[in-house]
Symmetry: C2
Subunit: 136 residues, 2 copies
């Protein structure tokens, strides 16, 4: 496997860990996955652009506090490498509802950390099982 | 001005050129601003995750073909540097309508090029003029 493919697979694994932490309602795990050197931002569906790590973490804690452990599943993830940064486009399935998302990652001390999460509504529901995450 | 601030200012300038090209209805300018080495993606409001430069450019041409020269203005832009990549969070004002957006840029041959655009609805309307673009 070429280095690019290996790194893309690691990005997708970090992306999946983010959603797994949400499903587990694990705010500490989400915090550990969030970038510390890179500057962090977050945009929730219908919400504003939250700028800064503290604001992003607070918003995630509020979601977990409100809905407990959301049954959120990531599907159709595609990793796009940009050197020491990367972004993932993916769909989020929560019950019968679908969102579309962009997650930006930064390579910090050899680990891919989430620098930005942007999720919003989509009228598109993937009709076929998107299958395993893919590397673009 | 520190190098980081200078690069962030260049990212914000590239972001502004993207919106200026839209206002001018200039599909060729949009194409010139779009990354060629980095892999490109695009998510329009309510739309799917379009993957690939050709799909993104086609979607932008379709918007220009449908609405001509959209009176789109970017406000409250914040640049986040990630080495040779960067992302911008901002609001898009189109008449009385507001969207919130993420734009990811890649440094290609010394120029910041758009690698990903994700715009979606927001219930938040900045109440005060956000002022000039800021560097986070």
């Amino acid at each position: 496997m070429a280095q690019g493919e290996r790194e893309a697979a690691r990005v997708l694994a970090a992306n999946e860990r983010f959603y797994a932490a949400f499903r587990a309602g694990d705010a500490a795990a989400i915090e550990a996955l969030t970038a510390t050197t890179a500057l962090v931002a977050c945009i929730h569906p219908g919400g504003p652009a939250l700028v800064g790590r503290a604001a992003a973490l607070e918003s995630w804690r509020a979601i977990l506090g409100g809905s407990g452990r959301p049954a959120i599943h990531c599907e159709g993830a595609v990793a796009h490498l940009l050197g020491d940064a990367a972004f993932v486009t993916c769909y989020e399935r929560i019950g019968d509802d679908w969102l579309v998302a962009t997650n930006v990652f930064a390579l910090e001390a050899g680990e891919w950390r989430l620098a930005h999460h942007h999720a919003g509504p989509t009228a598109i529901v993937p009709r076929r099982a998107p299958g395993p995450a893919t590397i673009h």
